[in-house]
């Protein structure tokens, strides 16, 4: 058995709840059309940065029922809807599976910040006696995996991975280990975030991380473009159903693509700035490629972290150019979706799976004038149809946490 086949896991189900749409079909369609979703956000009105990428028309009461919705934070709502879609997409029925063999690994960066902010206001304005007893079970970062387990009767290993903006990618890499070691037969792996709140938006703005293009929000998220000036804060969730390929074959499941490699590293350089040399990023990519048993010249497509911040995109491009030349077709879906922090890695892994499955790379929205320092083949304006055998999906978090997945054709 080769190293690569020993580590493969099959992606048999996908679920997406993103600013590009509720559901995989709606999200993917918007992403392929490179239609930006950033818009003025009433919840952020009056703040220095008052726009974001919100999931359009998301009604938790209608989608989940008030009984579940009232006692869970929005970051859990998004993941529950994405998780439900992923399980159905995989053709699995929680009523008939052995739940003890089903794990849940969800990435998240910040937890239920909206609940936290609301209850802080209650404490300040109404006093301690009026603070909700539900605050901890709603905001706790671990809770999303617990609630997803309840929703689908998954009693196997259950955890939340926290590596800032790499959280969703770390979750998928961790889930793969649970399948490889035999601790699970099925893992729901993904990421979620819903922190479009005044406090979180204010601090990201103060950090200088956010785009200030408030006069034209739709053009604000522009990865790899010469005029990029920061990321656009987003919400969203993505969930993948992962199984060992032999198990998927046995039950006759459709395999959309395979996760064949995972690499992770730390910059150990600075709390928020990427190491400009990109040493840590390169090590994570090298580790993922070695794990998959593929050479750099075999990589057809890179789904970049591509946040649209000046520093991230320059560093990532430097590393990609150094490792791959101008070979792979590069894209960043954040031009459409914005940056959903702990959700981003899972959403982009799902997009990479769809790219590999359908042989198409979505264009990077708003790439009107590619930064001359970005010496890469970045797909712009229209989707590019091309056969893709091997792709990578990059995620880099504050704290210098880097995580990379290799996605291969089924």
């Amino acid at each position: 058995m080769s190293a690569s086949s020993r580590c493969d896991v099959a992606v048999t189900g996908l679920g997406l709840v993103t600013p590009a749409g509720i559901g995989v079909a709606a999200s993917w369609d918007t992403i392929l059309r490179a239609e930006p979703t950033a818009a003025a956000d009433p919840a952020l009105a009056g703040l220095p940065v008052d726009f974001s990428c919100r999931v359009p028309g998301f009604d938790a009461d209608a989608l989940l029922g008030r009984r579940t919705a009232w006692r869970t934070d929005r970051y859990t709502h998004l993941a529950l809807v994405a998780g439900r879609e992923a399980v159905a997409d995989a053709g699995l029925d929680p009523a008939s599976w052995d739940g003890a063999r089903v794990g849940v690994v969800i990435g998240n960066a910040l937890g239920g910040t909206a609940t936290f902010e609301r209850q802080h206001c209650v404490l300040r304005d109404e006093g301690a006696e009026m603070v909700s007893p539900m605050l901890i079970p709603m905001m706790g970062i671990s809770m999303v995996a617990g609630y997803l387990a309840i929703a689908v009767s998954a009693t196997g290993p259950n955890l939340v991975t926290v590596t800032a903006c790499a959280s969703g990618t770390t979750a998928i890499g961790t889930a793969r280990e649970l399948l490889r070691s035999g601790k699970c037969d099925i893992v729901l792996a993904g990421g979620t975030e819903a922190s479009l709140t005044p406090l979180i938006a204010s601090t990201f703005a103060k950090m200088g991380a956010l785009s200030r293009r408030g006069h034209d929000p739709a053009a604000a998220s522009r990865p790899f473009d010469a005029g990029r000036d920061g990321f656009v804060l987003a919400e969203g969730a993505g969930v993948l159903v992962l199984e060992r390929p032999a198990d998927a074959r046995t039950r006759g499941a459709r395999v959309r693509a395979r996760i064949t490699g995972y690499g992770a590293s730390a910059d150990a350089y600075h709390a928020t700035a990427p190491d400009p040399a990109g040493t840590g990023v390169q090590r994570a990519i090298e580790m993922a490629l070695a794990d998959a048993g593929v050479q750099p010249d075999e990589v057809d497509h890179v789904n970049a972290h591509g946040t649209s911040t000046p520093l991230n995109d320059a560093t990532e491009a430097t590393v990609l150019r150094r490792m791959f030349g101008a070979g792979p077709a590069v894209t960043s879906v954040k031009g459409v979706t914005g940056h959903s922090l702990g959700g981003a890695g899972a959403i982009e892994a799902a997009c990479t799976v769809l790219s590999v499955q359908h042989g198409v790379v979505p264009p990077t929205a708003n790439l009107d004038c590619q930064d001359p320092e970005i010496e890469l083949d970045v797909v712009a304006r229209a989707p590019r149809a091309m056969p893709i055998q091997t792709a990578i999906s990059n995620s880099f978090g504050f704290g210098g946490q880097n995580a990379v997945l290799v996605v291969s054709a089924a």
Partner: protein, 79 residues
């Protein structure tokens, strides 16, 4: 009692997502998926709605909707 029962019904269905078809005076709060934490939350909502305080030891998931309505009525809220 009927008026107060209706007001409790509205609270439980709109705020706590209890399906109308499951609601009934003789149904236990546990059957309506209201655990002890949910009842503490109900106490906060009830304080604003009825102006009465419900202690954590005064109501349990094993009690019925009717028990809950009687508790509120006993605190002086017109039934």
């Amino acid at each position: 009692m009927n008026d107060l029962l209706s007001r409790v019904a509205v609270l439980l269905t709109t705020r706590f997502g209890v399906p109308k078809e499951e609601f009934g005076a003789d149904v236990t709060l546990a059957d309506l998926d209201l655990d002890s934490l949910s009842l503490v939350e109900f106490g906060l909502v009830a304080e604003k709605e009825f102006g009465v305080q419900i202690g954590e030891d005064e109501i349990s998931p094993k009690d019925t909707v009717e028990d809950l309505v009687r508790l509120i009525a006993d605190k002086g809220v017109a039934a």
